[in-house]
């Protein structure tokens, strides 16, 4: 995953933008919730009713320690337990690129959530392009820190690819936020995001099949 370890449990700066997108008092399902930092922030700042799904047993324990409700399971198994539009927001932060079939889970997430917040590392970011073009190596950035042989990121996307996917799957993009990550902060990008942003946050909604 692109998730950085957060031993001090501090909220990653890009998560603040996600917290801002959630309406107060909502129900939230965080898929691949890690140690629950985002869920905790949503619970505290937005009084959200949160639950998560997480594969790592130590992360599950960390969630329980925070008083969060979490299911120890594999996202590749799907979301069959959840009815259509049964939660206000389904959230996938930096998770889709590690899934076997991100397309299936995104469609599922949009079925279960009234809205869906998905964040992706952008493989179209200029540093990524430059490393491949001028150095001829597999790109590594702070957001994509792995070597080619040990990366869990098996389905990387660019912002443009992701938007095209949404369009092709009848997912309306209600809001989009583009960021470039610094050491301990991140800055919003509005100009040529597929080139200058290394992170995109999308709010999606299933378009009615009328």
């Amino acid at each position: 995953m692109t998730k950085r370890t957060n031993s001090d449990d501090k909220l990653r700066p890009e998560f603040n933008y996600i917290v801002d997108l959630v309406k107060s008092g909502s129900s939230v399902l965080d898929l691949g919730c890690g140690e629950g930092q985002l869920m905790k922030a949503l619970q505290e700042r937005k009084h959200a009713r949160v639950q998560g799904i997480e594969l790592s047993d130590t992360a599950v324990q960390a969630c329980v320690e925070k008083g969060l409700f979490v299911y120890h399971g594999d996202l590749n198994e799907g979301l069959a337990d959840f009815n259509d539009h049964s939660v206000d927001y389904v959230i996938l932060t930096s998770t889709i690129q590690v899934l076997q079939r991100p397309d299936l889970l995104i469609v599922e997430a949009a079925r279960v959530g009234k809205k869906c917040i998905i964040s992706v590392p952008n493989f179209g970011y200029w540093r990524v392009r430059f490393q491949l073009m001028f150095e001829g190596v597999m790109p590594r950035t702070s957001n994509l820190p792995y070597q080619w042989y040990d990366t869990p990121n098996i389905h990387l996307t660019t912002i443009n690819d992701f938007k095209r996917f949404c369009h092709e799957n009848d997912l309306g993009i209600l809001a989009e936020t583009y960021l470039v990550m610094g050491e301990c902060d991140c800055t919003r990008v509005s100009f040529l995001p597929n080139f200058f942003a290394d992170y995109g946050i999308f709010v999606l909604e299933q378009r009615s099949a009328t």
Partner: protein, 384 residues
């Protein structure tokens, strides 16, 4: 986090509560009535002023009320979950009032087939009515009422104790704030019923069983020992047997080519079987395993979600990766039904090689999960 010293609850005394005196006998699922009923129970810690810190711990098939501490009457009587109950432990007796009672049909002080039937002046034996897990919970509820507790902070148990924890949340939803079924199921699998049935056949096929009328005589020691051995096989895992026994011989390095107990695993099972005979009643084993076999919270509709629709408690469901008697899918089935019912639930599968027995052995991970769940989990019904 808990900062107090880990400790023992010290000397505890088993207490007895008798209720359902005729004509107010307890109505049972089988249609019959039972009374009077005595429950043996132990308590640890202090009930607080608003009676909001009570935790009911429920034992498994062959357990008893002695979950922690020292039995002054019998120092060979080991508490079955002393690692989890006590000052500073997962069920912290500095903060909580912990209750554990022997189930009805048992033989550890509560009314069961070895108890005297007041109608005849002789042990019930097979005149004892057939019981269900729900009946066991009905009896426990009388005890909790007697203690003046309106709502339990938590109901927790492993294996059959977990079934009862689930049943509590279904039967008395207002009385359960948090529930923790561990290595358990909402319906016993045909595989587990099969093992129970073979155990019962071993007992009932023993000539000394004598149709259940063996009190005052030898009793079906051989059959009961075999039943226990079968049980023990199902509580271990392939890997834990490799680690514990391997293919080693007991007290020798090469075989003698005969049918005496040779392998270490054989010796272990023989020992477990024999030591069980001295402490457990064969008819209790028949009745309790049958109650487990009948357990199916999906009935009558067949839909577990409907069966669990009354639940209000928040749940922590725990399973163990190597448990093949109550495999993780059974816990996931509970979680799935609860989630569909919009109940707050956490699920954790603990990686362990200990098989079903892991619920008694994986103390560190269980402590971490349970301590925090009890501390922080707030069910939505009381949060609103």
């Amino acid at each position: 986090m808990i900062t107090s010293e880990l400790g023992s609850v010290g000397i505890v005394e088993t207490q007895y509560f008798t209720f359902a005196e005729p004509p107010n006998e307890l109505q049972l699922d089988c249609g019959r009535k039972l009374g009077p009923i005595t429950l043996a129970y132990e308590t640890y810690g202090q009930l607080n002023a608003d009676k909001s810190n009570a935790i009911l711990i429920i034992h498994a098939l062959t357990g008893d009320a002695h979950v922690a501490g020292i039995d002054p009457a019998d120092d060979t009587h080991k508490p079955w979950w002393d690692t989890m109950v006590g000052p500073g432990k997962a069920f912290d007796t500095n903060r909580n009032f912990v209750i554990c009672s022997n189930c009805i049909a048992g033989c550890k002080g509560s009314t069961g087939p070895s108890s005297i039937n007041p109608a005849t002046g002789k042990p019930y034996a097979l005149d004892f009515p057939m019981l269900t897990i729900a009946d066991m919970v009905r009896a426990q509820k009388e005890l909790i009422d007697h203690l003046g507790i309106k709502q339990l902070l938590c109901v927790v148990g492993g294996s059959m104790g977990g079934m009862q924890a689930l049943q509590w949340a279904v039967s008395y939803p207002e009385m359960v704030r948090l529930a923790i079924p561990i290595a358990s199921t909402a319906r016993l699998s045909p595989q587990a019923i099969a093992f129970d049935a073979v155990g019962r056949h071993a007992i009932m096929g023993d000539p000394d069983w004598n149709g259940g009328n063996y009190y005052g005589a030898v009793g079906p020691a051989h059959g009961l020992a075999i039943a226990r051995q079968i049980g023990h096989i199902t509580y271990l895992s392939d890997k834990s047997m490799h680690q514990k026994f391997g293919r080693d011989f007991q007290d020798k390095i090469k075989p003698d080519y005969d049918f005496v107990t040779e392998f270490k695993v054989e010796s272990y099972l023989s020992y477990r079987g024999e030591s069980f005979v001295g402490r457990f009643d064969a008819n209790s084993y028949l009745y309790i395993t049958k109650a487990m076999d009948y357990f199916d919270l999906a009935q009558p509709s067949g839909d577990l979600r409907k069966g669990l629709s009354a639940v209000k408690a928040a749940f922590l469901v725990i399973s163990f990766s190597s448990d093949w008697l109550f495999p993780s899918y059974m816990s996931k089935e509970i979680v799935s039904a609860l989630r569909r019912n919009n109940v707050d639930v956490s699920y954790a599968e603990i990686q362990s090689d200990y098989g079903h027995d892991a619920f008694l052995l994986e103390v560190e991970t269980l402590t971490r999960l349970i301590t925090n769940f009890l501390e922080y989990a707030v069910p939505r019904s009381t949060d609103d």
